[in-house]
């Protein structure tokens, strides 16, 4: 690879790979994917942290049925240490919750940039993977959070609105952040294999309108698709991980597959210091 991933300066052995999970549109299962992917990676023996980077409207705590006393908000305001805000989650990984409804963080100020970067720099050496569950859309905060990541996963569902917004996100990442590669995860597909068709469709539009405009190459890697599964709704309502509740469900198996796919990415293959 002659095109360095943005911010790849930190991908030294022993430091966590930073993966941003994002979607153009809300309600496509981004937080569901983050939580269950974290559990699947933890099962592989990785030390995983999920950082709820949806600072304006976070709900990782809702998905995991956690009632945190200490959140990122307390760390930002100085009323708690970072160590106090790192909480164990069911599924064998760690979470750092934003605290719901912190509307004052929905705008990107230099302080927030500084604080977010500092938090990530601090946790980086202690984990193998840090998943950044970003907000929906392409606000300043979301784009900044993504700029800190080694890898980006865009979550989409097979609906025209979701695909359009996923495409808009990919376009901005390619054109504004010099990303040469973005990963796609298609959630709630009717048949396994639909993800491949959708990825191909997106690639054609990207080739024409993004690569055509910039003259740069770009690759959209399909990480996998997750079938629409009644078990998912069930797990969400029970506020549990599908991975724990129904490990054999098609959606769970798909997530496990995606976790191993993720581990095969070039940024992950770099030598790791600790095992």
């Amino acid at each position: 690879m002659n095109a360095p991933a943005p911010q790849s300066t930190g991908s030294t052995p022993g430091a966590a790979r930073i993966v941003a999970i994002t979607s153009g549109k809300g309600g496509v299962g981004k937080t569901f994917v983050s939580a269950n992917l974290a559990a699947a990676l933890a099962q592989q023996g990785k030390r995983v942290l999920v950082l709820d980077a949806d600072l304006g409207l976070a709900n990782l705590d809702v998905v995991l049925n956690l009632h945190p006393k200490t959140t990122l908000h307390d760390v930002f305001t100085g009323s708690a240490t970072l160590a106090q805000a790192l909480l164990p989650a069911p599924g064998g990984f760690t979470v750092l919750l934003a605290g719901s409804g912190l509307v004052e963080y929905s705008r990107l100020t230099p302080q927030i940039r500084e604080q977010l970067t500092q938090v990530i720099d601090t946790v980086r050496p202690r984990f193998d993977v840090v998943l950044l569950d970003t907000g929906a859309g392409i606000s300043d905060v979301v784009l900044y959070t993504i700029s800190l990541a080694d890898e980006v996963i865009v979550v989409a569902t097979p609906e025209p609105t979701s695909l359009t917004d996923a495409y808009a996100t990919i376009k901005v990442l390619a054109m504004q952040q010099e990303r040469r590669r973005v990963n796609l995860l298609v959630n709630q597909v009717a048949r396994s294999g639909d993800g491949r068709v959708i990825a191909q469709q997106l690639r054609q539009v990207i080739d024409r309108f993004v690569c055509g405009a910039t003259g740069q190459s770009f690759s959209l890697e399909l990480l996998g698709d997750v079938p629409a599964d009644t078990g998912v709704r069930h797990a969400v309502v029970k506020r549990q991980l599908l991975m724990s509740l129904q490990p054999g469900a098609p959606a769970s198996q798909a997530i496990v597959q995606i976790a191993s796919q993720l581990s095969k990415l070039p940024t992950f293959k770099a030598p790791e210091a600790t095992t």
Binding site: Q176, V197, A213
Partner: protein, 269 residues
Amino acid sequence: MALDWPPLNARTVTALPKPAPIADALQLEAALHLLRASGYECARTPPSLRDAAWLQTVIESLCDLSSRDALTGLANRRQFELVLEGELDRVARSGEMALVLLLDIDHFKAVNDEHGHAAGDLVLQAVAQRLNECVRPMDTVARYGGEEFAIILPNCSPAFGQAVAERLRRRVASRPVGVAVHTDLRITVSVGGAYASPWVRSSVKLWMERADTQLYRAKEAGRNRTSLEPAAMSDVSAEEKGMLFSMATLPAELSPPELDASHFPRFPE
């Protein structure tokens, strides 16, 4: 200084590397000779080697000399890359937009071949001066090499980039360059440009590559034109949407539904 070159701006001067003190008198003599030959006024016989103010002038003149292109008086390539490096750092931290333009004189080889190198030099000087006339003091105009110029425009939003590039192109083409009595040449430039990526720690190489791609496009499109890499836009055009949903390969639920006349409301006849 007796030179009529415009001053390199304050940003570039602060970015200059700290020179090592001139230790021995022989080196100093050589430096003074060089400065004198290059038209710097400070190069008189030293009142005394301990005269700090005088030494400072010598050092500054040497820095100035080593960061300029001798023919045009613009920043030279090394100086340009130093400034670009600093700008990348600023963009990565501030998220501000910055633009790099790469300009190439069209058919410059023909000028040299048909009118001689002295004429070529006059053209380079005229272009340099015209470029320098239409940028802000904070911008850095450099001779990047041969007949190629480069400009850094810090804090330049995409709303203005295209206008600046056009202004530069038009200014160069605005009037002929006189290279000899009764010999006026029509000179044009092609301009390529790319914005820095806010918050992303990019590299000088990658940024220049992107600008170069656009310069190539401007040349391909027929020269005497500008081509800027479009700034990132999040809106999706109707054409893009059309292509996104057009193909028959999409899963059934994404393809447009068959139109069935029975779905339309019926009006009484």
